[in-house]
Symmetry: C2
Subunit: 352 residues, 2 copies
């Protein structure tokens, strides 16, 4: 059971004026006493009395009223392309946890990879006076960062970077070291004896896709090999993975494929089976992300594990820091991934 609802202010909640009256001081004094930042300006005795009255009346500061005055909402926004993609929930979870611990609420929105929708959502967040924005969605060429700049909203990119040129340096980013990561997969396949290795790439224009493709080619050439095939997927989805893998299978032969992302791998498995072949036995497959449960698919997926949680936490910390001091130099954090070897990779049947 709940303590009997406070009788005094029946409809709305108690305001600072109610507390002031009850405590026999002026409203501004109440404000100072109750705001941790200004508490020092007030006599200890007054602070105590005010706090007691505030508690008794069940007073809670109105974030809205305070926000109108201070132009700060103690709210941040996060834009993700697609919450259904399992790499985003852990990131969001980490961001939300850090933000909540610092007293910030988190607005989420799905862009569904639609730049127009993304722009609309940024505008709406600006309207809500978010103190900062976390962009997990910004595809290259989107005006997201320009919008943030226009509204004066500090922003941090997460799991995405802007292309090299342009306002790249103007925004901090926390990403995985994708080139290094895909290199780990290539090294592993080469060590197993594979020579005809294909790449199933991510969608065009997405920084993770670009980096992984570049990294794949670089590392392959480092081993003196050329790609046995390279097809980009239309999106990071299971269906797109199936389509792209079918295309690869229809082309020149290969014994292994390095795939740009785990979600695509599900479709890759589908396509391999549909073609009457077997993952691992006939064609080795590596993924990227180590998303939940890929250890349980069959055969267990060899993949590159990225640090979702650290990504969310670090991005949150950086955003908080830049919100506090916008003049801070921008940062470009690359988290180091690791290879997780499971059952989807084996030495090739017929060594090339």
């Amino acid at each position: 059971m709940l303590p009997p609802p406070i009788p005094s202010p029946p409809p709305g909640r108690a305001t600072i004026a109610d507390v002031a009256r009850e405590a026999g001081v002026h409203a501004s004094t109440v404000s100072r006493a109750l705001n941790p930042a200004t508490r020092g300006m007030v006599t200890e005795a007054v602070a105590l009395r005010v706090t007691e009255v505030a508690d008794r009346l069940g007073w809670r500061p109105s974030a809205v009223a305070a926000g109108l005055r201070t132009r700060k909402s103690r709210t941040i926004g996060i834009l993700v392309p697609d919450l259904i993609n399992p790499i985003f929930p852990p990131i969001l979870h980490a961001v939300e946890t850090v933000m909540a611990a610092r007293g910030y609420a988190t607005l989420v929105a799905n862009t569904d990879n639609d730049p127009a929708r993304e722009a609309l959502l940024i505008e709406r967040m600006a309207t809500h006076l978010v103190d900062g924005l976390m962009l997990a969605s910004a595809a290259a060429g989107t005006g997201a960062l320009a919008l943030c700049a226009r509204f004066g909203i500090p922003a941090v990119l997460i799991n995405r970077r802007m292309p090299q040129g342009a306002d790249c340096a103007a925004t901090s980013a926390v990403t995985n070291d994708d080139r290094h990561g895909i290199g780990l997969a290539v090294d592993h396949l080469v060590a197993l004896g594979h020579r005809r290795i294909a790449h199933l790439a991510g969608p065009e224009g997405v920084s993770t896709a670009t980096d992984r493709r570049t990294g794949f080619l670089d590392r392959l050439r480092h081993h003196g090999l050329e790609p046995a095939g390279l097809v980009p997927a239309a999106a990071y989805t299971r269906e797109a993975g199936q389509v792209a893998m079918a295309a690869l299978l229809a082309g020149p032969p290969f014994t292994a494929v390095a795939v740009a992302n785990d979600m695509l791998c599900l479709g890759v498995y589908d396509a391999v089976e549909a073609a009457g072949r077997r993952v691992a036995a006939d064609v080795s497959v590596t993924g990227f992300n180590d998303m939940p449960f890929v250890d349980r698919i069959h055969p267990g997926l060899t993949t590159v594990r990225i640090q979702h949680d650290a990504m969310g936490r670090q991005a949150a910390e950086i955003l908080l820091a830049e919100m506090a001091d916008p003049a801070l130099p921008r940062r470009d954090i690359r988290l180091v991934p690791e290879l997780v070897i499971r059952a989807s990779t084996r030495p090739p049947q017929e060594p090339a």
Copy 2:
């Protein structure tokens, strides 16, 4: 490239007063012209001119200022126990999509199943003046609903119901028909010939766990059978599933187990293998939820599919309706699940 930033109001954004001055009308007229609800009160010509000026100045209404006046933030909150659990992202996605389409922003927070944290987050959301709250987290006995009532925040439960008594009827809920769903699994196992069937239940006090357990027992008795074992998991996690399954395997023999949730099933698979037995061949397993990718685990999980997306959408619609008219009668929606048969269930080896 962006159009050159509007020169007029360099620091802050344009306000309604700027638009009024520029358009040669009073601020209140601007407000009326720009607010869809009151637009009719104003001459078409004036409306046009005001709109044009507003566009030119890049004016956006301040949700904060409007909220202070109207006591509405055009924001809703959603509390989830754990965003990492894959059944929540699709629900959140659906809720957010519906809300965004109606112009609402969505605040998310993770409770991590901690009632104290839940209470804190509800308070914080109240502080932010959320217009409604979606509770996917309320475990039985939590004061969440009482808090909402105290703050006057409309709330809808999603994937959770309050226990029968108490303020149950006072809150709308959108849930899966869990008793029916688990019954489908039981019917399937019985039809395969299983007679010694165990139940790996969900954590105590969670409505889905209670309903599924009750439904399991009812349906089993309907077939004239008694449970061959019943162990609750400590939480809806893979680890808890493994522990509980190990406990079941240490007890009386059974040929099939109906598990309260897919996440638990991952641990069940782990435990079965650790015991040197095989899922399907030695022990049939059914799950619940049909979470993403369980079709790809090995052997493919037979499970009860629930309508995540419909759940989120309907709950959002109901919340919007009750926000608009709090006097609306409360609703208790049960969505109908379906059985998805895959490879984890087979006739028993030695018919009982």
